[in-house]
């Protein structure tokens, strides 16, 4: 029944954002109309969703159907292939919602050759869940969300640099949820010096992101609040070979050419599957011009700031033709009290 596949997708959605470079997956084992096992992939390196569900079902998995949000893997990664486990447990039918385009071998065939029926039921909401995963997995870079809090006229701060607080408290809470759903937050020294932020997730049971600071020059003020908070590691990307820090929590990542692509690839190799860019106009505009931004979250406060626009969030040296400007698709729009949240996907 399609409802079990929906449950598997719901399980995947629950762990969305906590699986690093791995996709979020949910699985449900059903035998004679009763759920006998449920599973979700909780963290890279942990059991896959299918294995968790099968381990819960034990003998009841024999002759059962397993519903999975994503095609089961057939390769040795951090864990053995799921298709083997499915066959071992005597599952009679596999139903999944999305084909995994990152897989090299054909799991379907392996299963069918072992006498397991396989059904693929296309589910758009599951597909949306994996869209970025497929792209970033192929490119070897994390999924990138750019977050901007600004005035209606697109400014992150007044000309004099005042930016505390453009948006309201409800936005702040929403940003904590965003951080919770990302492995790392990227910012620059400009924002650190101006706002002295900590990039923590102040919600109960919230996941704290790794804090990534971009500073080509290596001019970093280590007395700032962020460096006094050992909640999660801080990684500083710099082109300055002389930048040093003794703090165990702080890691200096030297790169001879700190392009966005190089930084993102290095982050991915370090297990970062999703990054949230929370930075000032320069870094924000760099990411928005790059090909690596998957999602843009805009929080608008009902203000207009004016001035010359030194701190407008998208300011570029290039003047684009209107047909060439970055285009987005509006996925969701909602009011957060008197602020507006727009969720957009890069087209």
């Amino acid at each position: 029944m399609s409802q079990y596949l929906n449950y598997a997708i719901q399980l995947a959605q629950m762990v969305d954002g906590q699986t690093g470079v791995n996709p979020p997956v949910g699985a449900v084992v059903v035998n004679q109309g009763r759920i006998v096992g449920i599973g979700a992939h909780l963290r890279k390196g942990d059991k896959h969703a299918e294995v968790q569900a099968l381990d819960m079902a034990k003998a009841a998995a024999n002759g059962a159907t397993i519903y999975i949000s994503l095609e089961p893997c057939s390769h040795y990664g951090s864990t053995p292939p799921c298709v083997n486990k499915i066959i071992e447990f005597g599952i009679s039918k596999v139903v999944y919602a999305v084909k995994d385009t990152t897989l090299s071998s054909k799991g379907d065939e392996i299963l069918q050759n072992a006498g397991v029926k396989v059904e693929f039921h296309h589910k758009p909401d599951a597909e949306a869940l994996y869209k970025d995963f497929f792209i970033t997995n192929r490119q070897g870079v994390p999924e990138v969300t750019v977050k901007v809090s600004c005035s209606l006229d697109g400014k992150q701060a007044t000309d004099s640099g005042e930016s505390k607080w453009i948006t309201n408290k409800t936005v702040k809470q929403d940003v904590f949820m965003l951080r919770h759903k990302h492995d790392a937050v990227i910012t620059g020294t400009g924002t650190l010096n101006a706002d002295n932020p900590q990039y923590t997730t102040r919600i109960e049971q919230g996941k704290q992101p790794i804090r990534v600071i971009l500073s080509k020059s290596g001019q970093v003020d280590f007395t700032l609040d962020i460096f006094q908070q050992p909640t999660t590691p801080i990684w500083i990307f710099t082109e300055n070979k002389n930048l040093k820090n003794q703090d165990k929590n702080i890691e200096i990542m030297y790169c001879s050419n700190c392009t966005i692509e190089n930084i993102l690839k290095q982050l991915y190799q370090n297990g970062i599957g999703r990054v949230l860019v929370e930075a000032g106009p320069t870094i924000t505009s760099e990411f928005l011009q790059s090909n690596f931004t998957n999602e843009l979250i805009l929080y608008y406060a009902p203000k207009i700031i004016g001035g010359s626009g030194d701190n407008q969030f998208f300011k570029t040296e290039n003047v684009f033709n209107l047909s060439d400007v970055p285009q987005f698709e509006i996925v969701n729009s909602k009011m957060l009290e008197q602020n507006i949240k727009l969720e957009l996907r890069k087209k």
Copy 2:
């Protein structure tokens, strides 16, 4: 019953935008549970809503209750006082939703002295309808709506001036409705030269706004499309005494000091109750900085334009403190296909 008062308010909403400097008003006459007359004020100079409803009811108004969206007038304006007419027709009770703060004498007393019961039932949706009317009537200026079509980063055009078309066709239709609801559209020569627009209402039975062009210098190119369209008058405000045009449809309004306040006062004296500002960054920013903007309509296209921001919609010489920037209240937010419409009221 409150439902009749709601009907009166609905009638007022139907004529909102076609009554010039007069408020939109609706009225319903009810006798023994049956509606015997309905009326709405259709245009300045025409019968008031109450009079229309009473004329429709004729003898059935005797002993009836009249429900009106706004307190009935007790003064001689373009027409005789409505309270007299209500007494003449033998109405036994008057129920209205909003007190008219622009009235000098007390209609309630006149009615009560004549033996007519008077009830005031406060209705927030009716109050919203008259909020701007009371302010602008006191100040002797029209209600001002500023309309902006822009990118997510607040730009009306690229640095090279390309602006056709940032927003989509659904927005265009929505703008036709906006024009329909305003007596006049204000623009500048910059926008005329760049876009060659006509400011017409291309919807069936749409009201065409008077077209107001601001040109201090009087450098006007009379070969542009707008001047070839005699649908409605064109008024040009200028400080240039030498600007002349023979076309009957075009009126040159000379002012020695063309401030926004002076222009608005002159428009109001000419019967303009509502103006829609559809202009480029300079005029738009001037209006948004003035105290005369009541409403801001923002249409965002899901694009980011970048560049230096020469054509950002709110650009000012003043740098405001964040606590002093113009603040708005979000009244409504909706998707127009892939564009976002925000309706905001100046706080």
